[in-house]
Amino acid sequence: MSDTPTLLVEGLHADVDGKEILKGVDLRVPTGEIHALMGPNGSGKSTLAYTLMGHPKYAVTQGKASFDGHDLLSLTPDERARLGIFLSFQYPTAIPGVTMVNFLRASLRSLGKEMPAREFMQALKREMDELKMDEQFRSRYVNEGFSGGEKKRAEILQMALLRPKLAILDETDSGLDVDALRTVAEGVKRLSGPDMGILIITHYYRILEFLTPDVVHVLHDGRVVRSGGAQLAREIEVTGYDPILAATTAGAAQG
C-alpha cells in the first residue's frame, strides 16, 4: 500500500440506545482526498461521525475502523484525536466557564502542539481573521451563547489550529446563511491539501459547490449503498435521493 494514511472502515455495525443504526458501513478515505457522505435523514450519517470519534453512547457491535493502520475502536476519543482525527460537530457542545483560549491551549498541549503564548495568540488572531470572527470570541466561553454560524466558525477555527490528518465535518453547512457558508467552506478549502483527508457529511449539495469532492458516497439505512464522483452529488441535487435508492434496492434485489 502507499504511504498515505487512510481511514479504513469495514463492515461497521453500531447501536444507539439498543437500536442498530449502522448496519455494515464500508468506507475508505485516504489523506489528500475530499469525500462527501450524503444520505436522507435517519440514514446514520451523524452516527457514523460520532462512532468514529468514539462517543460513549455509540456501541460498535461488529466491524473494523482504522486510521493509518492503527485500530480506532480500542482507543479513547482523546487518543483518536492524537492520531490526527478531528470532528467538526453538528451541534458543538457548550462548556460553561471555560474560555476559548484556555480550551484551545489545553487541546494543543495535549496534542503535543503547544506553542509559546505570543506565537499562539498570533496564530489565533490570524485564523480568526481568516474566518471573519470577532476578536472578543477569544474570551467567550466555549460555544456558550454562540449563534449557529459562530459555532461552525469556531469549529473550523479549531481545525485550523489543530491541523488534523483527517477531518470529519458533520453537517457543517446546516444553519448557515450564504455568506457564512462561503467563509466556512473557504476556510476548510484553505486547510485541505495532500496532508489532510476530509469527510464532509452533508444532506445538501450547497457546501459541495465550494469544496469539490473527489468521491461521493450515499448512506442509506446504515450502509453505503452507492459511491461515485462529484457528479453523483449534482444528481442528488436534481432528483433527490429516491431514484438512487430505488436503483440500489432494485440492484440488490437482482442480486
Binding site: 476519543p77 478531528f86 460537530f89 462548556i95 471555560v98 480550551f103 489545553a106 466555549v142
Partner: protein, 454 residues
C-alpha cells in the same frame, strides 16, 4: 451557684463572666442574657429540628473546647498569622489588615487611609466602649437567644472587628479581617460587624484559617451588617478551617432604601459547617447579590441556609450557590425567598447547582418560596448531576485527556460564581484555591510555608 469550679477557659459561665467584666455595662448585660438563653436552649437536633434534619451534630461535644489558648505560649499562631498576611497581600495588598486569634488582636496595619476618611476601624471590643450607639445598631440585627449557637457567639465572642463608614464616604481601601487559630480543641468566635451610613461604601473580607490537619476546632461566627439608604457593601468570606473544625456562622445584613449588598463566600474547609446567609431587604429598591462556591472532599459536610426576605418594594435578590462534591462529601442547601404582602415588584432568584464528582457524594437542595405579593417575579432552580458526558466527549475529541477534561469542566463550572466576586484580588485568590482543590489538594486548613510549622 455550682459547687464545682468552672474553668474560665471552657464554654462556661465563668468564661462569659470574664468577658462581661471587660465589657461596658450594656454589653455585659447582653452577654449574660445570651448565656442564659444558651443554657436554656437544647442543642439543634437532626431528629426534631427541620433546619438540622440533614446536618447531624450529635458528635459535637462543646465541653471538649477551650476558649483560652494554653498559657505562656505567646508565639503560637505567629507563623499562621504570617500565612494569613501573605494571602491578604496576594489578594488585596492595600487593605487595612486586622489579625485576630484567641489571644486577641495580633496585628493592625494600614489603618491610616481609612482613619483619614473618618472611617472607624477597630476591634469590636474597643468600639463597644468608644462608639456604643453605632455598635448597638449592628447588634440589633440579632435577637438575643434567637438560637443556641448564635447565643453562644453572643455571649463568648472576643476582640472582633467593627467598621463604621460615615455618610457618603467611600472607604478607599478594603478592610481585611483574618481570624486564625492553632492548637487542639480551640474554640473561636469571629465577630465582624459593620454599619454603613447613607450612601457609604465598603469592601470587607473575613478570612478564617487554621493549620491543615484534623485538630478539633469549634468556630461559631457572626458577621452583621446594617446598610443605610444608598449604601453599598461588598462582603467576602473565605473559610479555610482545618478538616477537624465544626463551623457555624450567621452572616446577616439589613438593607435600607436602594442599598446594595454583594456577598461572596468560599467554603473550602472544616469537617462540618452550617452557615446562614440572611439578606433582609427592608427598604424599597434594595438589592442583594449572594454568591457562594463550595468544594467538599473526603467526609466534609457543608450546609448553607439562606434567607432572602423582601419587605420593601421593588427589591431584587439573586443567590447563586455552586457546589462540587466528591469522595464521601455531603452538600446541603436550604433556602427561602420570603416575599411579604406589601413587597410588590420583587425580583427574587435562587440557583443552586451541584456537581457530583463520584464516590458516594450526596447533595440535598431545598429552595423554598413563600410569596404573598403578586406583582413579582420569583424563581429558583436546583440541579445535581455528574459531569456532562457530551462536554467531556467534546474536550476529549480535541485530544484533551479525561482527567484534564474533567478538571477544565469543573473549573468552568465554578467560573460564573467567580465572575460575580466583587473584589478582583479575592476572585483570583479563590480561583487559585479552587484550582488546588480541583487538582486533588484539599484546601481545608492552610499549609506552612516550606520548612516551617504552624
Amino acid at each position: 451557684m455550682a459547687t464545682t469550679i468552672e474553668s474560665a477557659s471552657g464554654i462556661t459561665g465563668a468564661a462569659v463572666e470574664t468577658r462581661a467584666a471587660a465589657s461596658p455595662a450594656w454589653l455585659a448585660e447582653r452577654r449574660r442574657a445570651a448565656w442564659e438563653a444558651f443554657t436554656a436552649l437544647p442543642m439543634p437536633d437532626h431528629m426534631h429540628d427541620e433546619d438540622w434534619r440533614r446536618t447531624d451534630i450529635s458528635k459535637l461535644n462543646l465541653a471538649d473546647f477551650s476558649v483560652e489558648p494554653p498559657p505562656g505560649d505567646a508565639v503560637a499562631g505567629d507563623a499562621l498569622i504570617d500565612v494569613m498576611r501573605t494571602l491578604r497581600a496576594e489578594a488585596a495588598p492595600d487593605s487595612a489588615f486586622l489579625a485576630i486569634t484567641r489571644r486577641g488582636l495580633r496585628a493592625c496595619d494600614e489603618m491610616d487611609m481609612l482613619t483619614a476618611q473618618g472611617v472607624i476601624v477597630s476591634t469590636l471590643e474597643e468600639a463597644a466602649i468608644q462608639h456604643p450607639e453605632l455598635v448597638q445598631r449592628a447588634f440589633a440585627a440579632v435577637r438575643v437567644g434567637e438560637s443556641k449557637l448564635l447565643a453562644m457567639w453572643d455571649a463568648l465572642w472576643r476582640t472582633g472587628v467593627f467598621v463604621y463608614v460615615p455618610r457618603s464616604v467611600d472607604a478607599r481601601v478594603p478592610v481585611w479581617a483574618a481570624y486564625s487559630v492553632a492548637g487542639d480543641n480551640a474554640a473561636i468566635f469571629p465577630a465582624t460587624l459593620a454599619v454603613l451610613d447613607d450612601n457609604a461604601s465598603l469592601t470587607l473580607v473575613d478570612s478564617y484559617a487554621s493549620p491543615a490537619g484534623d485538630a478539633p476546632l469549634l468556630s461559631s461566627a457572626a458577621a452583621l451588617f446594617v446598610l443605610g439608604d444608598d449604601a453599598r457593601l461588598d462582603y467576602h468570606n473565605v473559610q479555610q478551617w482545618g478538616a477537624g473544625a465544626w463551623h457555624f456562622a450567621t452572616h446577616r445584613a439589613i438593607l435600607g432604601r436602594n442599598a446594595r449588598l454583594r456577598v461572596f463566600g468560599a467554603a473550602l474547609g472544616s469537617r462540618l459547617q452550617k452557615v446562614y446567609w440572611d439578606a433582609l431587604l427592608d427598604g424599597d429598591g434594595g438589592e442583594a447579590l449572594l454568591t457562594g462556591v463550595c468544594f467538599g472532599d473526603e467526609s466534609q459536610h457543608m450546609d448553607l441556609q439562606s434567607l432572602q426576605r423582601h419587605r420593601g418594594q421593588s427589591t431584587h435578590s439573586d443567590l447563586l450557590h455552586k457546589v462540587a462534591v466528591r469522595d464521601r462529601a455531603v452538600s446541603v442547601y436550604s433556602g427561602l425567598i420570603d416575599v411579604e404582602k406589601q413587597a410588590q415588584h420583587t425580583d427574587g432568584y435562587v440557583q443552586n447547582r451541584n456537581l457530583m464528582l463520584g464516590g458516594t457524594a450526596k447533595a440535598s437542595g431545598i429552595p423554598r418560596l413563600e410569596i404573598k405579593a403578586n406583582d413579582v417575579r420569583c424563581s429558583h432552580g436546583v440541579t445535581a448531576g455528574h459531569i456532562d458526558d457530551d462536554m467531556r466527549f467534546y474536550l476529549e475529541s480535541r485530544g484533551v485527556r479525561r482527567d484534564d477534561a474533567d478538571r477544565l469542566i469543573v473549573r468552568g463550572f465554578m467560573q460564573d460564581a467567580l465572575d460575580r466576586t466583587p473584589h478582583p484580588g479575592v476572585r483570583e485568590l479563590v480561583a487559585r484555591l479552587l484550582d488546588e482543590e480541583i487538582h486533588g489538594r484539599s484546601q481545608a486548613g492552610v499549609e506552612a510555608p516550606e520548612g516551617g510549622e504552624l
